[in-house]
């Protein structure tokens, strides 16, 4: 075949082959590339093998050619593009940088860097694309990239302008046409004029649908994305990167069988980058999970923690769904699926390729994925707060058919964290303070960008904070949650943010920003102003030796920045001093303030509970310990102590719940745990359950006297 092709196409060049491909003449392009596979030129051979889809051999050819010509920036750049096509961005970036070391301002290499940055949603993508274009104003791909990035950033006006510029450079700019089609898709308008135009040039240009699908994913319109990816692969089944994205998004929606099929096909055809590998590894790990169903929930948990977490998760999901269905006046049409990952790396696979998402949880339609409480150090995050945050996304996405803008869905989600309990959610942190001080909060018209392409490292978390505060402000000052609902309905009509703000809040964006910042200042202004003084005070504290000075300075630092509950906080410092001085009441007061304001380190809360117990404040101690259930429930001591307190307080259902949790932890002291549970069951006359547990206790410790007495009592009761 190769010899025949060589004979037939002895005059063929790479440009010929690329041209066949560009116009969708796939058979001809394949024959053309094949004919060049035996070219005497190494770079040509590399491109030829790439052209027929043999990426492995292409890589080897590039390597050999590079060894012969290590100083050729064009060769380096092309090799880098091969890595990029194979989902190996880091290797690609290195080659692009090497090319630029040889030939500074080399537009193809700068474009390569832009493409790598684009995959990472790095702000540099725009900067480098513009730089590449400046270096070569005819570099169509750079112009098309700028158009696409503008659309990713939620700026269809700019995207349209830039796509038109690309079309001026070349009336056959297929990706520019795809950007136009994507804009129409976002607006739920007919894309066929642009699709037809693309098909006239290249009838099998699946990449266009791939681009549209990618934009749909970024806008969380997953069903539409999947339809686009499917169409892309119908046109060209060898679009491996699109097939990978297709598989990943099928996985996100819980369509695991087809997801695995698509990912394995990509893998078996040489597309073996991290996105496919990690997704397949994650799917393999699902055999370690159990799935539990109720009419409204599907909960998937790692087997080793399922017994402990299932009751907590199901209860909390049900509670949140009930509250939200009433609050959002919207009934869900399918069960909510929740997956908890005890290994954070597995959770990270679920969020890959999605810019600026929460590091703790993510929602895809009715499907929520989260870190398990055990994925992090105790106190690192509040799982219940995260769950309510993600569940609110389920509602706002469903209610707007996924058209709600990013800032608003995140803002409502953050608002919900503290709407349910004020000590849930995150406090005002130094990153937000710095952004406010440096006037780096974005205007409402561009807040979406803060989530997609941050211009400084902390901008994503600051944007979450800002969006949440905006929603708090709207609820407090502009008509309560009904106003939020009205805005949600408006967004369902695809009304842009600026128009929604004008219509429902009666102000232009500039006025909105002004009024919001003024309100924000009333809420956090004092702490922002005090921040530098607080830092100085904390430094003084760290060097202070005398208790009296620490006490005085500690109280002052605490009042300068009361939201600070992280490492080294003054609540703990003061409490420790009071304990040392045997002033338990004052120690309790400090730690209660810590808890009330949202401090969530379990060991600190346990210390508070111990002090409360010592002072016979049992109800308070139980309340304190119960907070830990929503932070880090994987704690035997917590359940044992709380079970004991509930028993003493006569809270029988609480005692049962806690003893069940203790038994689920499979503690060393099985006999004690099961005896406790048996007694709790006995207290509510669940005699058969009590008997089962007391016998299990005695199986572990046949001579356990209290359990023996209970067994005899239960027997006599029967």
């Amino acid at each position: 075949m190769i010899a025949l092709a060589s004979v037939l196409l002895t005059a063929a060049t790479l440009d010929d082959c690329h041209s066949h491909r560009r116009y969708g003449r796939m058979q001809q392009s394949s024959a053309c590339y094949t004919s060049l596979a035996t070219s005497p030129d190494g770079l040509t051979r590399a491109e030829a093998f790439w052209g027929v889809g043999d990426l492995k051999t292409a890589n080897e050819q590039f390597k050999a050619a590079h060894a012969r010509n290590p100083k050729d920036p064009y060769l380096k750049t092309r090799w880098g593009r091969l890595f990029l096509a194979n989902d190996q961005g880091s290797d690609a970036a290195q080659l692009f940088e090497e090319a630029m070391e040889i030939k500074k301002e080399y537009p193809p290499a700068i474009l390569g860097i832009a493409l790598v940055a684009a995959e990472r949603f790095d702000r540099k993508a725009v900067e480098y694309a513009e730089k590449a274009l400046a270096g070569d104003p005819k570099l169509l791909e750079a112009q098309e990239l700028i158009a696409r990035l503008a659309l990713e950033d939620g700026n269809p006006t700019k995207a349209t302008e830039q796509a038109d510029k690309a079309l001026k450079l070349s009336p056959e700019a297929l990706n520019a046409m795809a950007v136009h089609a994507a804009i129409l898709q976002l607006e739920e308008k007919d894309t066929s004029p642009w699709i037809s135009r693309i098909a006239k040039i290249n009838p099998v240009y699946g990449e266009a649908h791939g681009l549209i699908g990618h934009i749909m994913v970024l806008n969380r319109r997953y069903d539409e994305a999947i339809a686009q990816f499917r169409r892309a692969l119908e046109l060209d089944p060898k679009l491996w990167s699109i097939r990978a994205e297709f598989g990943i998004n099928l996985m996100r929606l819980g369509r695991e069988e087809e997801a695995r099929q698509q990912l394995e096909t990509a893998w078996n055809n040489g597309y073996q980058g991290n996105s496919v590998k990690n997704s397949l590894v994650l799917m393999d790990s699902y055999k370690r999970y159990d799935t539990f169903r109720t009419p409204r929930t599907i909960v998937r948990l790692d087997k080793k923690e399922a017994e402990l977490l299932r009751p907590l998760m199901e209860t909390e999901l049900e509670r949140a769904i009930t509250v939200f269905e009433k609050k959002y006046k919207f009934k869900l049409t399918a069960p909510v699926q929740l997956e908890l990952f005890p290994n954070h790396e597995d959770f990270a696979v679920r969020t890959m390729g999605m810019p600026g998402l929460g590091a703790l949880g993510v929602t895809f339609g009715y499907s929520v994925a989260m870190d398990s409480p055990t994925a992090r150090k105790p106190g690192d995050f509040h799982w219940a707060s995260t769950l309510w945050h993600e569940l609110s996304h389920v509602f706002t996405l469903a209610a707007t058919h996924h058209k709600i803008p990013r800032w608003f869905t995140e803002g409502i989600a953050v608002h919900e964290e503290t709407a349910i309990y004020p000590d849930w959610g995150d406090r005002l942190d130094p990153e937000a303070i710095k952004a406010i001080k440096d006037k780096k909060l974005l205007g409402i018209a561009e807040l979406d960008r803060g989530f997609i392409r941050p211009s400084y490292p902390a901008q994503v978390v600051v944007s979450y904070f800002q969006a949440g505060k905006i929603c708090d402000w709207i609820v407090e000052k502009h008509g309560g949650f009904d106003k939020i609902l009205a805005m949600i309905q408006e967004f369902d009509k695809r009304t842009p943010t600026v128009e929604v703000v004008k219509k429902h809040l009666g102000m232009e964006p500039a006025e909105f920003d002004k009024q919001f910042l003024a309100w924000l200042d009333t809420k956090v202004g004092r702490q922002v102003k005090n921040f530098d003084e607080w830092k100085t005070s904390m430094k003084t504290l760290s060097e202070a030796k005398q208790d009296e000075l620490i006490m005085k300075e500690g109280a002052r630092a605490r009042d300068l920045y009361p939201d600070y509950v992280e490492a080294g906080n003054t609540y703990e410092l003061l409490a420790n001093l009071y304990v040392k001085n045997k002033e338990s009441g004052k120690a309790i007061e400090q730690l209660q303030r810590y808890s009330d304001i949202g401090g969530r380190k379990p060991n600190v809360l346990k210390k508070l509970a111990d002090l409360q117990t010592q002072e016979n404040m049992k109800a308070a101690a139980a309340k304190t310990l119960n907070r830990i259930n929503y932070i880090y429930p994987n704690d035997e001591e917590l359940h044992r102590k709380l079970a004991g307190l509930y028993s003493e307080l006569g809270d029988k259902s609480g005692a049962i719940r806690e003893y069940e949790a203790l038994v689920a932890m499979k503690p060393q002291d099985q006999a004690g745990a099961r005896y406790g549970l048996a007694s709790a069951y006995r207290s509510v006359n669940r005699i058969d359950d009590a008997k089962d547990q007391v016998l299990l206790a005695l199986e572990a410790a046949p001579g356990f006297r209290p359990a023996q007495k209970l067994l005899l009592e239960l027997n006599r009761t029967n």
Binding site: Q668, D669, G672, A701, F704, Q708, L712
Partner: protein, 313 residues
């Protein structure tokens, strides 16, 4: 997790008698807190030694050496004193807290003055003529001492799996916690055995590193046959733990009082028969239909409870 007791079930009757014997013997305790090297470690090690001192106040002969008092000479002197007074039925518990070093060949326990090598320590302990010894070496690099210390009738627990685990350990904190935590008494016989304390401390140490998301730099092991390989999980399958399961580390109740009443000997004998039957039944669990197992077990447990009720009158 199977709720079976730590001991091989079929030996329960013999072990029960042996444990009773152990409890009537005297236990000699020697706890040594070595040099910290820096104030933080001095305070930590000294604090742990003080905790042990409080715990063992009413538990037999207990000597705690710390600070300037913790020298090789004092260790040898205390052991010699124990040797003079100990009877063959007695028990010896030695607990080492602090830093250890291992140069590839020799382990040394860092104390004031010349350090004590594992060989020297073994030699000192060999001269105490008691039936059973327990050495709990909770220092860094303690795994390097194992080979020199292991001997028939001497249970050796080390907090590191080899001499190359050189970081300061936390095992001692949880070992001491085990000695005062009723939940460590898994079989609820009001005695915390060496095996129960080891399992408690080993689990808590592992959990410490897990919850802190830190790589574990210590891995405790136990060896009690005198010639085997030390293990993390002693059980009948690997043959470790049987001696440790019979070694009463500390008593936490009055459980054995009734055995001394002659009027209740028959009841006590019946109690022991029932306990042995329960152990035997549990040993056969895997080969029985679940329903049969439950029925038989429940009947035995109920009768045992009734017998105990009579004994308690």
């Amino acid at each position: 997790m199977d709720a079976a007791p730590q001991v091989g079930c079929h030996l329960r009757l013999a072990l029960g008698i042996l444990l009773a014997t152990c409890l009537s013997a005297n236990t000699f305790y020697l706890t040594v807190a070595g040099l910290g090297g820096e104030p933080e470690y001095d305070q930590r090690f000294g604090g742990w030694a003080s905790d042990v001192e409080k715990l063992l106040k009413s538990s037999g002969d207990s000597v705690v050496l710390k600070g300037a008092d913790a020298t090789k000479a004092r260790i040898a002197a205390v052991a010699a004193d124990f040797a003079k007074r100990a009877k063959p039925d007695d028990l010896l518990v030695v607990m080492l807290i602090g830093h250890g070093t291992f140069d590839g060949t020799e382990y040394k326990f860092n104390v004031t003055g010349p350090d004590v090598s594992a060989v020297e320590l073994a030699s000192i302990l060999d001269r105490v003529p008691v039936q059973k010894q327990l050495v709990v070496n909770m220092t860094s690099a303690s795994g390097g001492a194992l080979a020199s210390l292991q001997k028939p009738n001497r249970t050796v627990i080390v907090s590191t799996k080899s001499g190359s685990e050189k970081n300061a350990t936390v095992f001692a904190r949880y070992w001491i916690e085990a000695m005062r935590d009723v939940t460590a008494d898994v079989d609820k016989n009001e005695v915390i055995t060496a095996l129960e304390a080891f399992k408690y401390a080993e689990a808590k140490t592992a959990n410490f590193y897990q919850t802190q998301n830190r790589l574990a730099t210590e891995h405790a092991l136990l060896e009690d046959t005198g010639h085997g390989t030390a293990v993390k999980d002693p059980n009948p399958q690997n043959g470790q733990g049987l001696v440790a399961a019979r070694f009463a580390l500390i008593r936490i109740g009055e459980g054995q009082a009734s055995t001394k009443d002659p009027a209740k000997r028959a009841l006590f004998t019946r109690k022991e028969e029932l306990e042995a039957s329960i152990d035997k039944l549990k040993y056969q669990k895997a080969a029985m239909p679940t329903g049969d197992y439950r029925r038989q077990l429940n009947a035995l447990l109920l009768e045992l409870a009734k017998v105990q009720e009579e004994l308690d009158k």
